[in-house]
Symmetry: C2
Subunit: 380 residues, 2 copies
C-alpha cells in the first residue's frame, strides 16, 4: 500500500524503510547510538528508550551536531507545535524526547507555536480559535518539564516582528516550484500557506541572529515535518548559517490500530488528550484500543496474544521506559499468561501516571503563563 | 504597440484608454470632478491641476468615498513607496497629489514603505541596502509637507508584528492562481514575492482594526499598482471591511521622451532625484530632455515647436499649477515665440523651486526622524 506524508497529511501504510529512502534521511545506526549513550552517561542519563527501541529511527547530520557539542561549542534545540486543537498523546512523543535532549545537552530550546500555519491550512479555523488553543498548548508543553530558564517560546503571530524580516531572507531563495514539489501544493493553495515554510525555517537560525554567532541546531520532530527542514537545510548555508541537524520519530499509532489511521489526529474522538481525566483515559483504552488478544479467555490462555498488533503493547513501547518490564509484558502476553484486559490496565495505569504528573506541573505553571510567553522577548 | 504593466514592470506604449478597459477602472468624469471641486472649495482649495488636466484620470468607487466623507464620517488615505533607491520626480507625482487630498479631507494618511517588497523583488538588493534607502525616503516623503500629526509611517519589516497577523487573514483568501493572473508570476517566483500582496493589502484596513470600526479608505496611486488593490478590493469585504476606493495617475514620462521609457525609473541615470542640486537639475534637463522644437532657431521661429512631444512642456503640465501660465507657454511654444532653450529654463526653474522647498523642509525634519518613524506605534 502506498502512503501520503506531508506536514498536513499522513495517510496510508508507513513503511519507515521506504520513508528513509524517499526522504533521504539516514537510519540511526549502532555507532551513533553508542555516541549518544556516551554523551548521555556523562549527564547520568541512560540512552533514551525511544532510541533503544528505534522509535526515533532516523536523522540528518547528528554526527556533526555531536562533534560540535563534544568540542564544547554552544548548541541549541528547536522543535514546535501546531496549536490547532488540544495536545494529545501523539504530540507527547517528540516532546518527551526533546525534554531528554534538553537535559542531555543542557541546551536552550526554541519552541515554536505555529498559530499562523494552523490558521492558514485549516479552512474551518479562525485566528481567534487558534489563539485560544495556543495558550493552553504552551502550558501543556511546558508542563512536560522543560527548563523554564532555557526554553524560549515563539508564537508566530506574536513574534512576527522578529520572524518576518528573517523569513523573507529565506523566502527570497525558495521558488513556488520548490514548495510545490516539497509539499504537494497546487495553484489553488493560498499564498499564506505557500509562504509559511519560511516562517518555520526561522527558529533554526534565530539564536544565531540574536547572539550574532553561528550556533549548531538540532531539531527533534515527527518524520512528517521533514519536508520543511529539507528546504530549510538547503537555504540556511546560503544565508551563512549552519544546516540544522535533525532527528525523526515514527508516529504513535491510533488507538484503533496500526492499520487504521496511522497518525493520531486531533480530529478523531478516540484520541487521548493531555487534559483527559483518569476515567476518560481508561474508558477510551477499554473501548477503542485495538487488541492483539484472542476472542475468549480460554483461547487466549491457549494460543496467546499478538503484541505486534496490540495497541496497548505498542503504546507501552513508546511510554514504558523499563526494558525488563516491557519484555516481561511482551512474553507474558505472547504466552497467554497476560490477558487483553490486563495489558489494557497496564498501559492505562502508565498513561494516567504520566498525565497526572503533567497536569500537576501545568497547574503550578498556570500563574507563570505571561512570563513563559514572554521568554523570548527577554532574549534580545 | 503593446504594453506590459505590473507593479514591477512598465514597458511599452501606454494607451490609457486601453488601460482603463483592461484594468476595469473608471474614467474620472466631469460630474465627479465637480463633486471634488465642491468639496475642495469648502477647504479653500482649487480643483487640483492634476485633476483638471486628467493626470489623475481614473478611479474605483470615489463616488462612494465622497458620499461617506459628505456624511461627516471619518475617512483615511493610504499610499506607499517602495524604497529601492532615491526618490525621483516620478514618485513625486502621486505624493504631491496625496498631500492635496490630505488637506482636502483633513484625513489621516497611512504611508507604507514596502522594504520587504523591494528586497524580495530585486535580486541585487540586500535587506540592509533597502533599509538604508528607507530612512532617507521617509524624510523626502514627509518633506512634501504631510501633516505630521495625521500621518502614520508603516515600514513593513519594522511593523511586521502588526502587519503579518492581518496579512495572513488576507492571504488565506488568495490562491496562487489569483496572483499568477494578477501579477504574471510563475513557478520560479519566490514565495516571499508570492505572499507580498497580502502585506500591501493591510494598510487599507489597518485603521479599522486599530480603531475597531469600519473606516472608508481612499488610495491615490500610480496606475501600475492597481493589480494589488484589485485583489485587495476582492478580499476585504470577505473580512468584513469596506472595499477601499482608489484614484489612479498616469506616469511622468522619462526625460528621454514619451516613446522611450514611459515610466521614470530609479535605475536610469537621467532621472531627476529629490536630492539633485540646482546644477544637476539644469544639466540633466538641458542634456537629456526630449525637445519638440525645430533644429535651428530660425526654423523654430518659422514653424514653431510641438508641445505634445516636448518633455519640458509635458512636465510643466504635471508641475505648473497655473493654467493661464501653462496656456501661454503652450501657445508661445507652438507659435515659435518661445525657444526650446527657453522652455527648458522654465521647467528647470519650476523644479528647482519645488525641490528647494522640499530640501528645506527635509533639513528641518531630520531631527524628528525617530518621532516620524514611530508615528504608528503611538496609535495602538
Amino acid at each position: 500500500m502506498d502512503y501520503n506524508l506531508t506536514p498536513w497529511e499522513a495517510k496510508g501504510n508507513f513503511d519507515y524503510e521506504r520513508i528513509i529512502k524517499d526522504f533521504g534521511i539516514s537510519r540511526i545506526d549502532a555507532k551513533l547510538l553508542n555516541r549518544i549513550e556516551v554523551a548521555a552517561k556523562k549527564k547520568g542519563l541512560p540512552l533514551h528508550h525511544m532510541l533503544r527501541r528505534g522509535i526515533f529511527f532516523a536523522h540528518r547530520d547528528i554526527g556533526w551536531f555531536l562533534d560540535e557539542f563534544g568540542k564544547g561549542n554552544d548548541v541549541f534545540l528547536y522543535t514546535g507545535r501546531g496549536p490547532s486543537g488540544k495536545v494529545h498523546l501523539g504530540h507527547l512523543v517528540p516532546l518527551l524526547f526533546t525534554k531528554y535532549l534538553q537535559d542531555l545537552f543542557g541546551a536552550e530550546l526554541y519552541l515554536q507555536f505555529t498559530d499562523d500555519e494552523k490558521f492558514l491550512f485549516k479552512k474551518e479555523l479562525s485566528l481567534e480559535d487558534v489563539r485560544k488553543y495556543t495558550e493552553d498548548n504552551i502550558l501543556d508543553t511546558m508542563a512536560i518539564g522543560f527548563d523554564l530558564k532555557k526554553t524560549k517560546i515563539i508564537i508566530d503571530t506574536k513574534h512576527a516582528g522578529l520572524l518576518y524580516p528573517e523569513a523573507i531572507r529565506v523566502a527570497k531563495k525558495i521558488t513556488f516550484s520548490t514548495v510545490k514539489a516539497s509539499f504537494g501544493f497546487d495553484n489553488e493553495t493560498n499564498i499564506g500557506s505557500i509562504f509559511f515554510t519560511a516562517m518555520q525555517a526561522v527558529p533554526a537560525f534565530l539564536p544565531s541572529v540574536l547572539k550574532k554567532r553561528n550556533i549548531p541546531c538540532l531539531i527533534p520532530h515527527a518524520v512528517d515535518q521533514d519536508p520543511h527542514f529539507r528546504v530549510t537545510r538547503d537555504i540556511l548555508p546560503k544565508l551563512g548559517y549552519y544546516k540544522p541537524a535533525s532527528i525523526q520519530c515514527m508516529f504513535l499509532p491510533s488507538l484503533l490500530g496500526v492499520e487504521s489511521e496511522s497518525k493520531m489526529s486531533s480530529s478523531i474522538d478516540n484520541g487521548i488528550y493531555l487534559s483527559d481525566d483518569e476515567k476518560a483515559v481508561r474508558k477510551k483504552i477499554n473501548k477503542y484500543a485495538f487488541s492483539g488478544g484472542q476472542a475468549t479467555v480460554d483461547e487466549h490462555r491457549k494460543k496467546g496474544g499478538n503484541p505486534e498488533v496490540d495497541i496497548p503493547y505498542i503504546w507501552l513501547t513508546f511510554f514504558e521506559e523499563d526494558d525488563n518490564k516491557l519484555k516481561k509484558i511482551h512474553d507474558d502476553y505472547k504466552s497467554g499468561k497476560l490477558l487483553s484486559g490486563e495489558i489494557k490496565k497496564i498501559i492505562a495505569d502508565k498513561l494516567v501516571f504520566i498525565l497526572n504528573e503533567i497536569k500537576e506541573r501545568k497547574e503550578k505553571l498556570r500563574h507563570k503563563l505571561k512570563e513563559i510567553m514572554g521568554s523570548l522577548d527577554k532574549s534580545f
